[in-house]
Amino acid sequence: MSKYNKLPKEAPLILFIKEQKEPLFSKKNRALLTDPMDDNNPITVQVLGICSALAITVQLKPAIVMSLSVIAVMAASNVIISLLRDLIPNRIRIIVQLVVVASMVILVDQILRAYAYDVSKELSIFIGLIITNCIVMGRLEAFALGNGVWKSFLDGIGNAAGYGFILIVVAFFRELLGSGKLLGYQVIPDLIYEMGYVNNGLMLLSPMALITVGIYIWLQRSKNRNLIEKN
């Protein structure tokens, strides 16, 4: 029983809450950006978006492009859904979210095809798969539907960046150890190869992405004890 139940029935309700204008980058708003980078990372903590993290982290470049595309799609669709949140009929809200995300993705795809053709060929089906990326729909449903435009925008950027950050970290190690390159340029000098060093071909296969993500989760949790489950 909480103490509030003991209040007399006649107690006046608080009618006026002085509305304070929240600064654009208040502590709360900054947390929307920074939380997903660590404490609430979509991949390593919420375990969302794993599928694409496995698929496009063989090389750094597609991983970076994918991250940027997801940031664009998430920020835009979060803003749109948040703008429409008082208009969307509750019964078809998931469909509306899908339509918004899908059209954002098609836009990104069309623009890539015109201005970054090679990248669009490389990402091919994965661009389409942004639609099915659980993070996007998850944030729309959990955040944008109930929060203001600015907050939703930050939340979209934050979560997409948290996702992209992991993608880039994983891709960095996979490309480095798997092909001895970064962004397509050889970084491991020939000398080391001559001494008998061999690229680890296993790094190019998706299981190693899972293991790399696993190692990251391990490191993250040993640093950030809050994340460890109690039981």
Partner: protein, 244 residues
């Protein structure tokens, strides 16, 4: 208006659908030209790759002009249709026409005074269309190089046909047998020569897990080349089988 009423829901969806459709079609139409240009350059790039000329996409049109000396649109009897532009022919549409009305594009290239015949290919893989180009040397028998691409083959399996190691295995293979019959190249699972050292076996090693895509490649090479036989023969140059 009540946000949960049927009328509102219908109205909302109707407006949403119209807006989305308008935005998307405006974007798609306005970017169309740039996208088509990319596809055109990539086609040139692919054609050049079959004769061993590797070039960046942006420079492809220049280099293409230098090496490709002629583009022919052939009729099934081997004559040349001068009124059709071979480069812009769409094979996916041609294939559906009756054989007499089809036009078969052929690209003639000359590199270091060696002549090459480049034949565009189109067929079906497991999920969707596959296509490519194959370049024959002056004897119209030995493959100089091949390039393949696909629309939706499985990544890591069928999609591997776009990889150089697979395409390179076609180089040097012969498409005619000793009797001068067209046999094409068999993408074979029972190849005794996985390294592709035997260039007279009309076989290349298949990709594990990509049987149907591989069969598609086999079929498409033979089917498409079939249509060029009358032209090759009409040129009165014997299809020489050199047992080397």
């Amino acid at each position: 208006m009540d946000r949960d009423s049927n009328a509102y829901t219908f109205l909302f969806s109707a407006i949403m659908v119209l807006l989305v459709a308008a935005t998307l079609s405006v974007t798609a139409t306005s970017l169309q030209d740039i996208q088509d240009e990319n596809v055109r350059k990539e086609k040139m790039q692919n054609i050049l790759a079959t004769i061993g000329v590797n070039v960046e996409r942006e420079k492809a049109p220049e280099v293409y002009k230098k090496y490709i000396i002629d583009e022919l649109a052939l009729v099934s009897d081997g004559s040349i249709d001068k009124n059709t532009d071979a480069f812009t022919l769409k094979l996916n549409l041609e294939i559906k026409k009756p054989i007499k009305e089809q036009r078969f594009p052929l690209y003639l290239a000359e590199v270091d005074s060696l002549k090459y015949y480049i034949v565009p290919l189109r067929g079906v893989g497991l999920w969707d269309a596959i296509w490519g180009y194959v370049a024959l040397e002056g004897d119209k028998n030995t493959i100089k190089g091949a390039v393949f691409d696909h629309k939706g083959e499985t990544a890591g399996l069928g999609a591997e046909i776009t990889q150089e190691w697979f395409q390179d295995s076609f180089t040097g293979e012969k498409v005619f047998n000793e009797n001068g019959d067209l046999v094409g190249i068999n993408v074979s699972k029972t190849n005794n020569d996985p390294k592709g050292l035997d260039k007279n076996d009309h076989e290349v090693d298949a990709i594990s897990g990509a049987t149907i895509t591989g069969d598609g490649v086999t079929d498409m090479i033979k089917e498409r080349l079939q249509n060029y036989l009358s032209y090759f023969k009409s040129k009165n140059e014997l299809i020489a089988y050199q047992n080397n």
